[in-house]
């Protein structure tokens, strides 16, 4: 018999029922809820007189719609009536169904995928769902975590289970040592560039190898966050000492004997040496340059030292057409060196790159420099606690002195559901995860980069090879 993978182990430990046709009922340990994808689910429960089966396994907060400017007026002062209604609806639903709600003025409030791990709500070996595709973030802890639709949110609320068929196993080995300034974001972009946005469809990815072990928990979250951009159902990193060190003492993490027992169990959560993966690739981190996207799909990745691709070089007609369409939308000319592309905006934030380590890295670049006059730049911490920590370290001052805006936590310009958005034609260096057409505002042009690269672009006014900036500066 061959060994089992990490994914298989978590899957097997959560199977409540298996139908003859292969569809399984999977037990769900944790459910994160936010304001955008839940109102219709609670409405469905009300209409069918159903209750929430395990309210203590649910944690709710508002992040997508929430203003990132001054909040002293509270929810009532939110200018957009629809945003306000959605947030009030979540508050009401949580009160009605007995679910813990982290309010807007709570220091723990933040992006759901930042707050969950920060509170120790996310633990290894658990199944975690949220009506949000970037739930894959929590896979960094060795939890099976994936996004679900609103009907499934309702299903989990009512039954604490999810109907699932098993995905296939795909291991991505990242070997070598990442050079200076090559971050988890670059590794994520490199993987998506390599396998494509549909490359992970039908799979759960397991990231393994020395370059993954070397990543901090923040870095692993960045990487797993973007698994969905490769089409995967989830991403996983096996838990290790770094995982336990990150979690120990967190508010919702187990304590005392429970902690010891939990860690003993978590240590078993690794893919067996003889486990067989359906697919496997290896990427060498020691070769990677800082990466930037040029198009409207996260797979449109190029080295900062490269140039905008030429559609004429693409043989496949469908790909050529889609490249032409992307360049047209992005307002880019084939052959332009990426470093000559000027930007208008910088966004440092989102569940991909808004954690303390990201802010430290960006601040280190911004320190003593000034945001270019043509650029407006903002920093949006992932949670109230991160904001507080950053302020304790003086990062806010570095950013503000350099000319960045320092905001309240939330999704902000990652998806531009609140007031933070690009104007048509504006070009943005963004640490978020999606560069789709209109993602950051209608007609807005998004280039995905690491926090370091975003800060470098902010202070120079164009995309800049961070490796050179450091040498010069």
């Amino acid at each position: 018999m061959t060994g089992t993978t990490l994914y298989d182990k978590i899957w097997n430990a959560h199977m409540v029922d298996e139908q003859a046709d292969g569809n399984c009922l999977l037990y769900i340990d944790r459910h994160l809820v936010h304001e955008v994808t839940s109102p219709q689910a609670f409405e469905g429960l009300r209409m069918t007189s159903r209750k929430v089966r395990a309210p203590h396994k649910v944690l709710a907060l508002a992040d997508h719609n929430i203003p990132t400017t001054d909040r002293t007026g509270g929810v009532d002062a939110i200018a957009d009536p629809e945003s306000k209604l959605q947030i009030q609806t979540l508050e009401k639903n949580c009160a009605e169904f007995g679910i813990e709600y982290v309010a807007m003025d709570d220091i723990r409030q933040g992006i759901v995928h930042v707050t969950g791990p920060e509170q120790g709500f996310t633990l290894p070996g658990l199944t975690i769902v949220c009506g949000d595709s970037h739930t894959s973030t929590h896979g960094a802890f060795g939890a099976l975590a994936h996004g679900i639709g609103t009907s499934e949110v309702e299903h989990v609320l009512a039954t604490q289970t999810l109907i699932q068929s098993k995905a296939k196993n795909f291991r991505i080995n990242v070997v070598g040592e990442a050079p200076d300034y090559i971050t988890a974001k670059d590794i994520a972009l490199a993987i998506i560039g390599e396998i494509g946005t549909a490359g992970g469809t039908g799979y759960v990815l397991e990231y393994a190898g020395p370059a993954i072990e070397a990543l901090s928990m923040e870095g692993r979250m960045t990487l797993c966050n973007m698994s969905i951009e490769a089409g995967a159902r989830a991403g996983l990193v096996a838990p290790d000492e770094k995982t336990y060190a990150f979690l120990e003492g967190r508010a919702k993490a187990p304590k005392g004997e429970d902690w010891d027992e939990a860690v003993a169990y978590w240590r078993t959560l690794v893919s067996d040496a003889d486990a067989v993966f359906d697919k496997e690739i290896t990427i060498d981190a020691s070769d990677l340059p800082p990466l930037v996207t040029w198009g409207t799909s996260p797979q449109d990745v190029i080295s900062i030292a490269g140039a905008v691709p030429n559609p004429a070089d693409i043989a496949d007609e469908a790909r050529r057409k889609s490249t032409e369409r992307a360049l047209d939308y992005m307002g880019l000319k084939a052959g332009t060196p990426m470093q000559e592309v000027a930007i208008d905006r910088v966004f440092i934030g989102s569940c991909t790159n808004s954690r303390i380590e990201d802010l430290r890295a960006a601040a280190a670049i911004a320190k003593g420099k000034t945001v270019a006059s043509r650029v407006s730049a903002m920093v949006v911490p992932g949670s109230g606690l991160i904001k507080q920590q950053a302020e304790k370290e003086g990062l806010d001052k570095i950013f503000i002195e350099a000319g960045f805006e320092w905001r309240e936590p939330g999704c902000s310009m990652c998806l531009a559901m609140n007031a933070d958005k690009l104007a048509p034609g504006e070009r943005c260096a963004s640490t978020s995860n999606r560069n789709f057409e209109g993602r950051q505002g209608r007609g807005g042009r998004t280039h995905l980069v690491s926090p370091e690269m975003a800060a470098a672009a902010a202070v120079t006014g164009h995309f800049t090879d961070i490796r050179n900036l450091k040498v010069e500066g």
Binding site: V16, D17, D21, N23, L25, Y27, V36, T37, P39, Q40, T48, R53, H64, N65, E82, S83, L85, Q86, T89, L123, G131, D132, S133, T135, G147, I148, G149, S151, E152, H155, A158, T159, Q160, T161, I163, S165, T197, A198, T201, G231, A232, R233, A253, P254, D258, W259, A262, A318, R319, S322, R325, L415, A416, M417, R434, F436, E437, G438, R442, G443
Partner: protein, 200 residues
């Protein structure tokens, strides 16, 4: 949920790769707390100018395709977010079936929960149906879920695969939650065993 058995309708060609959920329904329309009413904003940024006028070139604005019930689209349809607003918008517009070579996982799931059939076919079959769809309003296509076949305007038949459980749910319009609640005893038993892992 609305049942899906057989559908004869106009197929609209959307010859674009990686149609993402932000294209299908941009985020400014996610602020609703209802499921209905999203059809008018389906593909909003491709369908209307910033001033709110129709973009004449966009397929669903052409008279032949205004009543389309089927979409034929490029690879990896529905990639991006988990927003169920995407299938809600499609359904509200009147789309009951999508044909592509591949879909993003969550979107694919979400379709079945809303009585929409997402059909996966090999590239050659999608190409053929895309060509058929480009012929306009006379090119009606018949989808028969029971026999898992698609009949094109020329009478040719293409078969497709679909998971047996999902098929049954669509054919009978079954409510997943109701089905799962019938397994309440199994869930109870599983939860009883959880005492051994108090941190869960």
């Amino acid at each position: 949920m609305q049942k899906f058995n057989q559908l004869t309708g106009i197929a609209a060609p959307l010859d674009i790769l990686n149609v993402d959920t932000d294209m299908i329904i941009p985020k400014q329309f996610l602020k609703t707390i209802q499921r209905s009413g999203l059809g008018k904003n389906l593909f909003d940024e491709m369908r209307y100018t910033p001033e709110g006028d129709e973009v004449p070139d966009f397929v669903l604005n052409q008279s032949a395709y205004r009543g389309a019930e089927i979409l034929v689209a490029g690879d990896n349809f529905g990639c991006g977010s988990s927003r169920e607003h995407a299938p809600w918008a499609l359904l509200d517009f009147g789309i009951r079936c999508i044909i592509s070579t591949s879909y993003a996982d969550i979107f694919y799931n979400n379709c079945f929960k809303n009585g929409i059939l997402p059909i996966v076919l090999p590239q050659a079959d999608v190409d053929k149906l895309m060509d058929d769809a480009k012929r306009g309003a006379n090119a009606t296509v018949t989808i028969d879920l029971e026999s898992q076949t698609i009949q094109g305007p020329d009478g040719g038949t293409i078969s497709f695969e679909v998971d047996a459980f999902r098929k049954k749910c669509l054919l009978e319009g079954l409510d997943d939650i109701g089905l799962t609640m019938k397994k309440g005893a199994a869930i109870d038993a599983y939860e009883n065993d959880l005492a051994a892992q108090p941190w869960r």
